[in-house]
Amino acid sequence: MRTIDELIGSAPVFEGLERPHLEVIAGCGRNEHVDSGAFLLREGEPSERFFLIRRGTVALEVRAPGRILTVETLQAGDPVGWSWLTPPYRSRLDARALEACELIGFDGVCLRGKIEADHDLGYQLMRRFAENLVDRLQATRLQLLDVYGHA
């Protein structure tokens, strides 16, 4: 059975991290299972956790009067939740499991403490999170262009 540091080491967002750093991050994580339809995060609620999807699909949703809009879906290897990184540490979207999911759930408070104590770890994590955010920001901009809506 693989340990958590072994499991997260293969995820793109943690790729290339050295073993000691992986072990520190893993120390803030645990294996979790959620059923289909379960919420990982709720808009506006305190967000001290984030997740790494091992199996399953999670939808990022926005609630509007009379409807729910899915803005993105995330799959195995994707991180879920960034609000634990920056104040006011409140989720900006709903994150809901579209099917039963296997996850690694991380304690954001725990990890923020580790980052403050080890700035090298902090840099390595921030660099990888920034790459992921840039990638998703670019994708979001493409969605905003609504390219299929124009002849």
Partner: protein, 270 residues
């Protein structure tokens, strides 16, 4: 070159603004074509428009066109019921180089919106010869679930050995598939990279970013082909309206090798 007469045999609505018409030549042999080619299609005095052929090149008995109603000419074409006669000139243009795909190669096809229509002939051609190739992967993106084309065929293509990944830009909670732009599917497809053959068609912005994502995944620009659109009028390289750099899209395209095209697309004024 005069339009030939084609009778509408069937008409099917695919989405709110898109129809697929099957046509039969009123006289003469069926119109043979290569995947990626187009005809100049007309509906009795409402103008003429370039429309990609979306049928099966191995079975050209019916000329198939998937048309989006966005103006006078296309609205008239889409409204043509069985028994009506349309005009068609062609086929024109450089096709998808499906016969250049080496044995055993991995092939990735990236389509956005109605861009799946010009790629459908290539998909059918490859599936008819499935045993020759490695992985066949379709990455298909659309605006919303009710705007996807050929949804009944996607499963059949999977059964015939194609991996099909579909995504939409936005959806309600009833959609259980991917949500996000098609470029995000490139990473999920885990392509082999070197040796992979790629074909892409869709809005130009989508193609540019998809090709960039393919390049990041190791797919070479020399093995990546796209289908371009410009304002075509004559379809036979005379009027010059469809000029793209030193080329004419109707004659030198619409299918281009990306490594030969990229420089011109970097020039904003073009």
């Amino acid at each position: 070159m005069m339009p030939e007469r084609f009778e509408v045999i069937s008409r099917r609505q695919d989405t709110a603004d898109t129809w697929t018409l099957e046509l039969e030549r009123c006289s003469g042999d069926p119109l043979e074509f290569a995947p990626g080619q187009f005809t100049m299609l007309s509906a009795g005095g409402r103008g003429e428009v370039p429309i990609s052929i979306s049928g099966d090149p191995d079975h050209p008995g019916r000329l198939v066109h998937t048309v989006r109603a966005v103006g006078l000419a296309t609205e008239a074409i889409c409204a043509a019921e069985p028994g009506r006669v349309l005009g068609a000139r062609g086929p024109f243009g450089a096709p998808w180089p499906v016969d250049q795909v080496a044995e055993g190669s991995e092939v990735v096809i990236a389509a956005g919106g109605i861009g799946l229509a010009p790629l459908r002939p290539a998909i059918l051609w490859l599936l008819a010869r499935r045993e020759r190739y490695g992985r066949l992967v379709l990455l298909y993106g659309g605006r919303a679930p009710d705007q996807l084309l050929y949804t009944d065929e996607l499963r059949m293509w999977e059964e015939r050995g194609m991996e099909v990944l579909v995504t939409v830009d936005s959806a309600g909670p009833e959609w259980l598939g991917h949500v996000g732009v098609v470029t995000r599917l490139v990473g999920r497809a885990r392509l082999g990279g070197e040796g992979t053959f790629a074909m892409a068609c869709g809005p130009e912005v989508m193609m540019r970013f998809t090709v960039a994502a393919l390049r990041d995944a190791g797919v070479e620009a020399g093995r990546t082909f796209v289908s371009m659109e410009r304002n075509m009028q004559c379809g036979i390289g005379h009027c010059g309206h469809c000029q793209l750099g030193p080329t004419l899209v109707c004659r030198d395209g619409p299918v281009y090798r990306w490594s030969e095209l990229a420089h011109w697309l970097d020039i904003r004024e073009l």
